[in-house]
């Protein structure tokens, strides 16, 4: 097995612990940022702008200004939505030279993309509630297509998304490093038919 792969696999349990601590430390800020982006996205397509997401005790409360004050407040667990930050951080930190400027830039970009995915996950939760969970009001304001669309979006960004997004983002932003670690790029024929152009094996 390659040295880089051995190092990666050896470092992964340690980076998992480090990532968990970082996430626990930043959790309130992550919760606020994800809920804030989601609220902005929802209100961008809402008239009148009535949705307000309030984070309390790591749960996002869905509040609407046009509902009665004694209406039931629905909540979503922010822990379930943002825990996959741990996976992304652990994978990033386990790669060689994780604190180099290049890797930190990649981490920042990857984290932003993951944050957007988490916001979409929360958005689909809110919109699915609006489209399906508010009885007659939902029936009047949302079509069957909208109900299916939001339900499908919620399903995809829930379990499959939460589990696969960190891996896909890590893979995408560290493509060359991971492909070399896996040995795929080394096997690639670099002298392919490129009409005279020199292939550099970087894909």
């Amino acid at each position: 097995m390659k040295n880089s792969t051995q190092h990666f696999l050896r470092r992964l349990p340690i980076t998992l612990i480090a990532a968990t601590f970082i996430w626990l430390l930043l959790r309130p800020a992550i919760d606020m940022a994800v809920a804030g982006v989601t609220q902005t996205l929802i209100r961008s397509f809402e008239y009148p702008r009535v949705t307000r997401l309030v984070v309390e005790d790591h749960r996002a409360q869905m509040r609407r200004a046009d509902l009665r004050t004694d209406s039931r407040v629905h909540t979503v667990s922010m822990t379930e939505i943002t825990f996959n930050t741990i996976v992304l951080l652990a994978l990033y930190l386990a790669l060689p030279r994780p604190f180099s400027r290049h890797q930190l830039e990649r981490l920042f970009m990857g984290w932003c993309v993951l944050g957007l995915c988490q916001s979409l996950n929360l958005l689909f939760h809110v919109k699915t509630l609006y489209a399906l969970g508010l009885g007659e009001w939902s029936q009047v304001h949302y079509s069957d297509f909208a109900r299916n669309f939001y339900g499908f979006g919620r399903y995809f960004t829930d379990l499959p998304g939460r589990f696969s997004f960190p891996f896909l983002i890590w893979l995408g932003f560290n493509w060359e490093v991971v492909m070399k670690m896996l040995g795929i790029q080394e096997d690639a024929p670099t002298k392919s038919k490129t009409k005279g152009k020199k292939a550099n094996g970087r894909g």
């Binding site: 097995m1 825990f83 996959n84 741990i86 379990l159 499959p160 891996f167 492909m179 040995g183 790029q185």
Partner: protein, 171 residues
């Protein structure tokens, strides 16, 4: 670069196949018919196995559908707790990887078995966390074990690629 040239690049082919298999498999398991015919019975089998292990450990555990219960604690195994999503990510990675069919077969069978073993450890440990440290059950369930299972799946995939998929001189 045209599609054929892109397809000839192993890393590009891997990415296209990986995303396609992943997307299709996630869509298929979301269908109600598949859920009723496969996912729910599969989850019930996981519950039966967990109940069996708990009985081996001396717990008076009984299983009803996807619920494992005893006089001390009860756990319900939902779709996210059955290891299926991690298995699908792993299988997509194995099937998309440029390797021989025999290596892929070893990967799929070995990976599924290993991920399920890890998942059984997870369910049993969560049961005991529920018994002895109930205040930490949610944390252990959501971010500790879910992160562990995902990373275990990714590590398994990387290990499989090196041990079985790549030619010996390359690995």
């Amino acid at each position: 670069m045209n599609v054929r040239e892109l397809w000839q690049k192993p890393e590009a082919r891997f990415l296209i196949l990986f995303l396609t298999i992943l997307g299709v498999s996630f869509t298929v398991v979301a269908l109600k018919q598949v859920n009723d015919a496969f996912v729910t019975p599969y989850t019930a089998v996981i519950a039966q196995m967990s109940g069996f292990i708990l009985r081996v450990f001396g717990e008076k555990a009984s299983v009803a559908g996807c619920v494992v219960s005893s006089p001390r604690f009860a756990v319900t195994i939902y779709n996210g707790c059955n290891g299926l999503i991690t298995s699908l990510i792993f299988i997509s990675g194995v099937l998309a990887f440029p390797a021989k069919l025999s290596a892929k077969l070893i990967g799929v069978i070995g990976g599924l078995v290993t991920i399920q073993l890890i998942n059984l450890v997870r369910i049993v440990s969560l049961y005991y966390i529920g018994v002895f440290l109930p205040q930490h059950f949610n944390d252990a369930h959501i971010f500790v074990w879910q992160s562990l299972v995902i990373l275990a799946g990714i590590s398994l995939w990387i290990l499989w690629a090196h041990k079985f998929a790549l030619p010996q001189e390359a690995s």
